[in-house]
Each structure stands twice: as structure tokens, then as C-alpha cells.
């Protein structure tokens, strides 16, 4: 699903160059749930941004879902993000003046999807995360856990091939964290590949594989469980 070969990313200012990723090589199988760990500044988020086509890579080769995406145009990257990738962020990143329904709807608009199809997908996704009764609420009327579930609904409603989660439980208490993690495990069990950046070692051990990044390179790999054969229906049923 995701294959990176000697990928590098350098941030340059007038006085300093920062090598955020150095010759990073990695292969993530379809349906795999991978946790990315590492200290602050190790390159976890940059890795996730490169993987999510939010940043261009400076060197190496990146293949996503069988397509070489190393040198795509900005529009092409936007199209892949919209159709094949779902994002979940630590700070939820909901649009504050849109209600739950319209927050989930946001990515579908850029797909030029008919209104009826949008409605079907939004209601199914919110049903799946247990928020079908909160459609009219705005983010500030929801708890942190609920907001993150809205973000998950937004990520899965487009039926993505991959979900990229950047510390999705970082702002939540233990109970909420467990709920969100269980939801992500369910989504993964239904066939969606997930890459999750986390500082939480317990959560990292619930997935198939943990990659520990140090100074922009994969330093250690831990296998916790074997990847099961892909289910008959390989996408999230929303």
C-alpha cells in the first residue's frame, strides 16, 4: 500500500538545514495498522505529512497504492488526498462554525459528489462512530472524545485506502483514548490501512507493527501481531 525507498526531506532556512527524513525506507502492506513512535523532533509528523502527500519529498521514491507519487503536481496530490487518504489529527481540526454534519461533509464537496450520495455516506459514518444524534451540534458543544470521533467520521466517510492519524489520542483521557483506539482497530479490521503516530507505548502495542523513528530514520521495528488475510470486503462499510 505504501512503499518508500530512501526518502528524504530537508527543511531549509537562510541559516540552517534540518534533515527531517534521511533515506527512509519502508513498506506498509494493505490492511496493516502501523504505529510510528519516536521522540519529539524525530521526524514522525514529517513522515506522516510526506506519506499523506501534504509535503513534497526531496529525494527517494514513494509509491502509494501502486502509483509512483514522488513527483506529482499539487492538483494530483490534492486528488489522491481527497479520494484515498483520511486524516485524523491530535487537535481534531474541526471547522468551528460548521456543525458535525457539515464538518464530515467537507472532503466530499471537493469530490463533486451528488448531495444524496454525500448524505448517505455522512449518516453512515456518523452512525459508525456513534454520533448520529449529534449531527446539528457544533464542535464546541461536544467533548474531546466526541470531537475526535467526528474527525474519524470525516476521515472514513470518503472510503479511503489509508488513514493517517497524528497522535489521535494525544488530547484525550485514558477512557476516551481507549474508545478512540478501539474505533480505529475496528476500522482497520474492516480493511483500511492505518498509520498512527503516537507517544503512548500501550497503544503502539495493540497494532501489527511499531516503527520507532530516530533522527528521520527507522531505528527499530517491533512486530506485535501478524497481519490477517484481507477480508472479503476490503473497505470500510459506510
Amino acid at each position: 500500500m505504501i512503499e518508500m525507498q530512501a526518502v528524504s526531506k530537508v527543511f531549509r532556512t537562510e541559516v540552517v538545514q534540518t534533515h527531517a527524513l534521511r533515506d527512509l525506507t519502508l513498506k506498509v502492506e494493505p490492511g496493516e495498522f502501523v504505529a510510528i513512535t519516536g521522540h519529539s523532533g524525530s521526524g514522525k509528523t514529517t513522515f506522516l505529512n510526506v506519506a499523506g502527500l501534504l509535503e513534497e519529498l526531496d529525494g527517494g521514491r514513494y509509491t502509494f497504492d501502486g502509483q509512483d507519487v514522488s513527483r506529482l503536481s499539487d492538483n494530483q496530490r490534492s486528488g489522491i488526498r481527497n479520494r484515498k487518504i483520511g486524516f485524523i489529527f491530535q487537535g481534531f481540526n474541526l471547522i468551528p462554525d460548521l456543525n458535525v454534519y457539515h464538518n464530515v461533509e467537507a472532503p466530499l464537496h471537493y469530490r463533486r459528489m451528488p448531495a444524496a450520495e454525500r448524505h448517505r455516506r455522512i449518516t453512515a459514518a456518523l452512525e459508525r462512530v456513534g454520533l448520529s444524534t449529534r449531527m446539528k451540534h457544533i464542535p464546541s458543544q461536544l467533548s474531546g472524545g466526541q470531537q475526535q470521533r467526528v474527525a474519524i467520521a470525516r476521515a472514513i466517510c470518503g472510503d479511503p485506502r489509508v488513514i493517517l492519524a497524528d497522535e489521535p489520542t494525544g488530547n484525550l483521557d485514558t477512557t476516551m483514548s481507549d474508545q478512540i483506539m478501539n474505533l480505529l482497530l475496528e476500522i482497520n479490521a474492516a480493511g483500511t490501512t492505518i498509520l498512527m503516530v503516537t507517544h503512548n507505548p500501550e497503544l503502539a502495542q495493540k497494532v501489527h507493527r511499531q516503527l520507532h523513528i530516530v533522527d528521520g530514520r527507522i531505528d527499530q521495528i517491533h512486530h506485535f501481531k501478524a497481519l490477517q488475510p484481507a477480508p472479503a470486503i476490503s473497505s470500510v462499510a459506510v
Partner: protein, 455 residues
């Protein structure tokens, strides 16, 4: 998608009402300042008779002595703007024009038949017969007089609409008698509402910003009754001997307006040659000491030559547009601040799949909404400003004016017509786009990952 973007634009504006109001206010003030300036300029810069642009020509001859420019000459490079009686008479004999008109403005006392109305002064145009057809003067009743009445002169008069209403109550007064300076004239025509702006055929009073005369009588009465011209009279030759009003008919004094109607531009050169030949011939007799500098000019050139629009109007327009530009620049700053504040949301939308063009379009739509709201508020301010100007004008010299034509003329200066209205709408859209283009482009160029962590 458009409705979706429009919805987002309105939400975004409501997210920060103070900043949004400031932007709308800045554009509104800019629109109002420029629209008031444009309205005032437009009222003065219009073409009074565009359909005859290639036919109507003012004629002037450079009869001045060969002396350095005089201090009172605003444009020493041009000949005097009026003719002597002698030259007007000579040119009048030409058969090149379809029609020629010589004329001047004077004043008389009108004694109404109705004893209830006291005698009062009226403005009189003393003119040859083709004045009415040449300047396309519309009539309600009757028409002008025959050319044979010019020199006779015939005791005939044409009244303005207002004068006919004042002394005859607006009825068809053709055939009725009017007493001017104790002499009786028969009404042959009543003019309909007619307000050439500016009064291009005679720029003597208020630089052309005056209403047409109230009564019109044949040219021959001028000399017969020794009527004094109300306007600039300049005896341009050092040899001129002034001895009463009759001197105007015998000496080299310029005081008559002279116009010709030609068949088209092709005849202009022919007529110019005729005028120059006339001047050459006069030079042989000791007149016209300067080189030929005679002008046969169409109405727009005539108005430009004599600064009828005026530098102050142009300066006002320029200041209005500069003020508009300053307001747009201010809005650019406010818009940029607003867009940068909301940049994390744009970054999020980019992450969710929006293309750069989607973000730019959404933001441009927002500024167009600001532009239109600013335009609407600006129109209200413009109307308020023009109304205030009207109040100021009528508290001055017009406060006691009983002549509705004069009131209408002044009102027309502050009247916003349809072309100006469309200009206001276009200007507000332009303001929105100008103010938003750079901020929208800046936001569209931001890397999507930049603000995701900070949202």
C-alpha cells in the same frame, strides 16, 4: 460548489464581524467618495448633442492685434471665442454650410397681459432663424420663425416652456401677444423641456453652466432696439472706436456667437479654407495682422478648448479615485490579516482534498461578497452625500429661484443616472477583486501542512 463556497464566504465573514465590518466600511467609503466625484464629473463631462458631432461647428477668427498675450487671456493660443458683427455678416453669406447662426444673449422686461403679474426681466436670445433647427430645439407648440423675419425684423417670439407656463398657464399660446420692453411680439412657438448641458452654444455665463434663455427674438431686433449683449464684449483692435452700442456693429469688437451646420466632416476642411481665405482677404485690407489661427471646431473640441469641464472637476475625479485606491489598499491589509487568521482552516481544507484553485476561489468569492456589501453601503453613502450637496446648493443662490429649469440644471449635477449606477456596481466588484486577489493568492500558495498542527 458555488453555493457551497458562498455559504462558506458568509460564514467566514460572520466569524469575525468587526473585521468584516471594517472591510465593508472601507470599501463603502471608497465607493462613495469616488461615486460622488464620478457623478459630479459625469454631469459636466457629457456630450450635449452627440448625434450632431460631425455636423455642428463653432467658428472663431483670430482678429487680434499683433501684440504679446494679454494677462486676461486664459488661452492666448486660441482666437477670441466670439466674432465681430462685420465678420459674422460676411461669413453668414457663405453657402457652404447647411445653416449658419449668429446670435447673442440679452435681457428685456416682459409685461404680462395678466395685470395680476408684475412686469419682470427675462433673458432673451437674439438670433437668426436657424438656431432652432441647428441645435435641435424641441417644440411643444408651433416652431421657429422664417429667415425672412431675421432682418425685417419680424415681431415674433419663441417662448421657453417655463415662460409659457408663467404667463399663459402652459396653454398653446401660438398667436398670442407678448410685450417685451413695451413692444408687442406674436408668439410663433413654445419650446419643450430643453436643457443642453453644458449650454455649449454660448459659454458666456457660468462657463456654459447656465439654462437656455426664456425668450427668443429675431436677430434684427438687436440693432434696431440697440439691445446690449449680456456677455463678454471685447474690442480687440486698438483702432476700435467705441461710441455707444452702435459701435458693436461698426467696430472690431467681438461679441457674437457664431455656429455653422455642415453636411459632415468632409465639408469642415472646405469651410475652414473658406474662413482662412476670408481672413487673408481681410489682411490685405489691413485687418487680421496675425497669421491665420482661425478655428472651425466640433462641440467636443469646443468644450475642451474652453475648459468647460474644468480642472477642478478633473481634480475632484482624480482625488475621488485616489481615495478609492487608498480604501482598496486598506482593505487588502485587512483581508490579508483576516485570511491569515483563518489559514489553519484553509490548511485543513487542503489536507481534505481542496486544490489551490478551490481555496483561491473560495476566498475570492468572500471578497466579492465584501465588495458587493461595501458597494451597497457605498451607494447608500453616495445617495446621502449627493442629497447633502443638493441641500447645500439650494441653501445658497438657488434658495429663492422660481425658475424650475435652473433648479433642474443644478439638480442634474447631483443626479445619479443609470450609467453611473452601473459604474458603481462595477467599481464595487472591482474593489472586491482588487482587494482580495493578493490575499487569496497568498493563502492558496500556503503549504497545507503548515498550519495543521496549530489549528
Amino acid at each position: 460548489m458555488l453555493i457551497h463556497d458562498l455559504n462558506l464566504a458568509v460564514r467566514s465573514l460572520r466569524r469575525n464581524p468587526v473585521l468584516s465590518s471594517l472591510m465593508v466600511g472601507a470599501i463603502a467609503v471608497g465607493i462613495a467618495a469616488s461615486m460622488i466625484a464620478i457623478t459630479l464629473y459625469h454631469a459636466r463631462a457629457g456630450h450635449p448633442i452627440p448625434w450632431k458631432e460631425d455636423k455642428l461647428y463653432a467658428v472663431t477668427l483670430d482678429i487680434r492685434d499683433d501684440e504679446p498675450p494679454q494677462s486676461f487671456e486664459r488661452h492666448p493660443e486660441y482666437p477670441p471665442f466670439q466674432l465681430t458683427y462685420r465678420d459674422a455678416r460676411a461669413l453668414y453669406a457663405s453657402d457652404i454650410p447647411v445653416h449658419s447662426v449668429m446670435m447673442f444673449r440679452s435681457g428685456q422686461v416682459l409685461t404680462p397681459a395678466n395685470k395680476g403679474i408684475k412686469p419682470f426681466t427675462v433673458s432673451t436670445r437674439v438670433t437668426t432663424a436657424h438656431f432652432f433647427s441647428m441645435f435641435d430645439v424641441p417644440f411643444i407648440y408651433g416652431g421657429g420663425w422664417a429667415p425672412t423675419d431675421d432682418d425685417a425684423p419680424g415681431s415674433v417670439v419663441v417662448l421657453s416652456k417655463y415662460m409659457n407656463e408663467k404667463i399663459f398657464g402652459g396653454i398653446n399660446s401660438v398667436g398670442r401677444e407678448v410685450v417685451l420692453d413695451g413692444r408687442s411680439y406674436r408668439v410663433v412657438g413654445v419650446i419643450a423641456a430643453w436643457m443642453p448641458r453644458p449650454k455649449y452654444y454660448d459659454l458666456n455665463s457660468w462657463g456654459g453652466w447656465e439654462i437656455p434663455e426664456e425668450v427668443f427674438i429675431p436677430f434684427g431686433w438687436g440693432r434696431a432696439l440697440k439691445m446690449s449683449p449680456h456677455g463678454n464684449t471685447s474690442c480687440v483692435s486698438r483702432n476700435a472706436k467705441i461710441d455707444g452700442l452702435e459701435s458693436l456693429y461698426t467696430q472690431d469688437c467681438v461679441w457674437l456667437q457664431y455656429w455653422v451646420e455642415l453636411r459632415g466632416r468632409a465639408d469642415r476642411d472646405r469651410y475652414q479654407a473658406f474662413v482662412d481665405n476670408y481672413a487673408n482677404e481681410q489682411r490685405r485690407h489691413g485687418r487680421f495682422p496675425r497669421k491665420n489661427n482661425n478655428r472651425v471646431v466640433d462641440v467636443p473640441t469646443w468644450l475642451t478648448m474652453w475648459d468647460v469641464v474644468g480642472d477642478d472637476s478633473r481634480m475632484q475625479l482624480a482625488l475621488g479615485l485616489v481615495f478609492f485606491a487608498v480604501c482598496v489598499l486598506n482593505t487588502v491589509g485587512l483581508m490579508l490579516a483576516k485570511f491569515l487568521t483563518a489559514a489553519p482552516i484553509s490548511g485543513l481544507r487542503r489536507a481534505l482534498g481542496a486544490r489551490r484553485i478551490d481555496i483561491i476561489r473560495q476566498h475570492l468569492l468572500e471578497v466579492i461578497v465584501v465588495g458587493l456589501l461595501g458597494g451597497a453601503a457605498g451607494m447608500a453613502l453616495t445617495l446621502g452625500g449627493l442629497t447633502s450637496l443638493k441641500v447645500l446648493m439650494f441653501s445658497g443662490r438657488l434658495a429663492h429661484s422660481s425658475n424650475p429649469d435652473r433648479v433642474a440644471l443644478v439638480q442634474s449635477f447631483v443626479h445619479m443616472d443609470i450609467p453611473v449606477l452601473f459604474a458603481a456596481i462595477a467599481l464595487s466588484l472591482l474593489a472586491g477583486v482588487l482587494a482580495g486577489l493578493y490575499p487569496a493568492w497568498r493563502i492558496g500558495r500556503l503549504a497545507p501542512a503548515t498550519f495543521l498542527k496549530t489549528q
